[in-house]
């Protein structure tokens, strides 16, 4: 069971880290979400790539019953870069998803699979009770563990 968790080589963010640092880490690590911890490694929540995309989109487009499509909007890459610059220095703490789904060492494998299937990639693995971050688990970790990619 432990084999599916990545407990050695995973990236973490601190609440005071900047959005720019977080964005760079998402790109370098090729992950969809990063755990955010405090000084005692207690999980505060998760910073997601799609939250970053939402910050670059018009706010009303990300709301339920907001504008249903943006086919008529012609913002360019330069416009988006300008928006990125405007938020780059803000701390990730402002954008943390605090009620993020987490898994524990004893979470059954099918439950983890189901969460990943539903799109919650890069789930934090925390210690039951004190929420101390122990590692992460991603769809790739699970696929690797079940033998996908094995050369025969």
């Amino acid at each position: 069971m432990t084999a599916i968790f990545n407990t050695t080589d995973f990236a973490v963010l601190r609440a005071q880290d900047s959005v720019a640092q977080a964005a760079r880490m998402l790109v370098e690590r090729k992950v969809d979400a990063l755990p955010v911890v405090d000084d005692a490694d207690i999980l505060l929540g998760v910073f997601r790539a799609d939250r970053l995309l939402a910050m670059l989109l018009p706010r009303v487009a990300t709301l339920e019953s907001g504008v249903s499509d943006l086919a008529f909007v012609s913002d360019t890459l330069d416009d988006l870069r300008e928006k990125m610059r405007a938020i780059a220095a803000r701390p990730v703490g402002e954008f943390v998803e605090r009620d993020a789904t987490v898994v524990h060492r004893d979470t059954p494998l099918p439950e983890i699979m189901l969460l990943l299937y539903r799109g919650e990639n890069d789930l934090p693995l925390v210690e039951r009770g004190n929420n101390k971050l122990l590692g992460v688990v991603s769809a790739t970790d699970v696929l690797r563990a079940v033998g996908a990619g094995d050369r025969r």
């Binding site: 018009p58 706010r59 009303v60 487009a61 709301l63 019953s65 907001g66 504008v67 249903s68 499509d69 086919a71 008529f72 909007v73 012609s74 913002d75 416009d79």
Partner: protein, 443 residues
């Protein structure tokens, strides 16, 4: 006291019906339980306790109001899928070179026009998202735009028979046609609309500034891309045009507005689905029916029964007599009391139950004023007060709450008290205009 009321005071049902009605009203006002549940329970209890028989209860339900509401809801549910509302909003913003104050004027005008023909909540649900998109691109505060949207939707809704549920109820009960509303209320609404924009300009509009680069972004919007289904758009506009023509001619054709709206809905459903396979038809029809606001519809059903209960029990006659006593049976004083009373009450409580109660009350005044024809100024006073009163507070109308909900979720909330400070005096001003208008034209 009338004979009916006198007899009822002594009877069993007067106090029973009064208690049930007050209980229902109190539950609606406190909003602890969904209003449709409360109204249905209130209606059911009127039957279960023997105030009304089931046959009598059904006589109290105004199916013309329900048919008109459902028909229009279905037409809007289909029409909005094709993106026409976003198209119009973007087109109008570009027409004024994306300058912030003229955009506010255009969006307010569009909101008022749409609200006159469609339900106010639907209108703001369609206009507010694109308004927020435009203000974000222009980097201006959305607050004045949303404030103007609330006022424009309630003012536009007041102008026609189909614009606001109180008008639908009043038109149906008093036998007033679409054209009656248009000729009598729309001119006053045009004046009030313009008069409302002046303080909005003074408080916010003159300070609205946008950078050229931000305006250019709006100018680069391609409104044609907002149209998602041009075939459906043509069908929808065709049916909407027919329905509006039907409303204008309904009195001459001896058709009730509900027949016009329901026929329009059936025709648009047919045009949308003709030739499609069974599964697709089923999906489309299901979608259109699911979009109708059943909470509102069932709220009306229960309410009509509850109000009919107190009418049959004699409470309405007693209330009318009390009001006439207070106004010394003078038509002008009665109209004034109805106008101002309904405006102030409607700012704080749902205007639908209030209007449902006032309708039989006003009807019962016919003998005092010399027949039903003499009641017309009172109907206009009720329509103007109940519809425009909704502007006074953030909870005064459902559309206000929808706008506030959007504002909250985009991080620029509209708070109750700051809104009240600007809106309540503005609403009172609009009622003063109505007061003058009623005296000038009818009293």
């Amino acid at each position: 006291m009338t004979h009916a009321a006198h007899a009822a005071f002594g009877g069993d049902t007067f106090w029973l019906a009064t208690a049930l009605f007050l209980g229902t009203y109190a539950m609606i006002v406190t909003e602890r339980v969904n209003r449709a549940i409360v109204a249905l329970l209130g209606g059911a209890l009127m039957i279960l306790t023997g105030v009304l028989t089931q046959e009598a209860a059904l006589r109290g339900v105004d199916f013309n109001t329900l048919g008109l509401l459902i028909g229009m809801m279905l037409i809007v549910a289909i029409t909005k899928k094709c993106g026409v509302f976003q198209y119009v909003a973007i087109w109008s913003a570009k027409k004024v070179d994306a300058r912030p104050w003229p955009i506010l004027l255009m969006l307010a005008l569009i909101t008022a026009l749409f609200s006159a023909l469609l339900d106010n909540v639907t209108t703001v649900l369609l206009i507010v998202p694109v308004t927020l998109l435009i203000t974000e691109e222009l980097k201006v505060s959305p607050y004045p735009y949303l404030f103007a949207t609330i006022f424009a939707s309630n003012i536009g809704g007041t102008a026609t028979l189909i614009g606001d549920p109180p008008n639908i109820m009043i038109g149906s009960a008093a036998g007033l046609s679409f054209n009656d509303f248009l000729v009598n209320l729309a001119p006053a609404m045009a004046v009030i609309f313009l008069a409302t924009l002046l303080p909005i300009y003074w408080i916010w509009g003159r300070k609205l500034v946008a950078a050229d680069a931000d305006r250019m972004r709006i100018m680069h919007f391609n409104e044609r891309e907002a149209i998602t289904d041009s075939m459906l758009l043509k069908k929808s506009l065709f049916v909407l045009a027919l329905v509006v023509a039907g409303f204008v001619a309904h009195d001459t054709l001896h058709l009730q507005p509900a027949t016009v709206a329901m026929t329009g809905a059936a025709l648009l459903l047919l045009l949308e689905n003709f030739g499609g396979d069974a599964e697709r038809q089923s999906k489309n029809v299901h979608h259109a029916f699911a979009e109708a606001e059943w909470i509102t519809i069932f709220f009306f059903v229960g309410l009509f029964i509850a109000v009919y209960g107190i009418e049959q029990a004699g409470l309405i006659a007693w209330m009318a007599e009390s009001l006439l006593h207070a106004t010394h049976g003078d038509l002008a004083s009665t109209a004034t009391a109805i106008l101002w009373g309904s405006a102030i009450l409607s700012a704080f409580v749902d205007n639908i139950p209030f209007v449902a109660t006032m309708i039989p009350l006003i009807k019962s005044m016919a003998p005092t004023f010399g027949g039903e024809a003499a009641l017309v100024p009172l109907w206009w006073a009720l329509a103007l007060g109940a519809c425009l009163g909704g502007n006074g507070t953030l909870i005064g109308a459902s559309a206000n709450l929808v706008v506030a909900g959007f504002a909250e979720r985009t991080g620029a909330p509209i708070r109750f008290l700051p809104y009240l400070k600007a809106a309540f005096p503005l609403m009172l001003g609009s009622i003063a205009v109505c007061h003058a208008y009623l005296y000038w034209r009818y009293l």
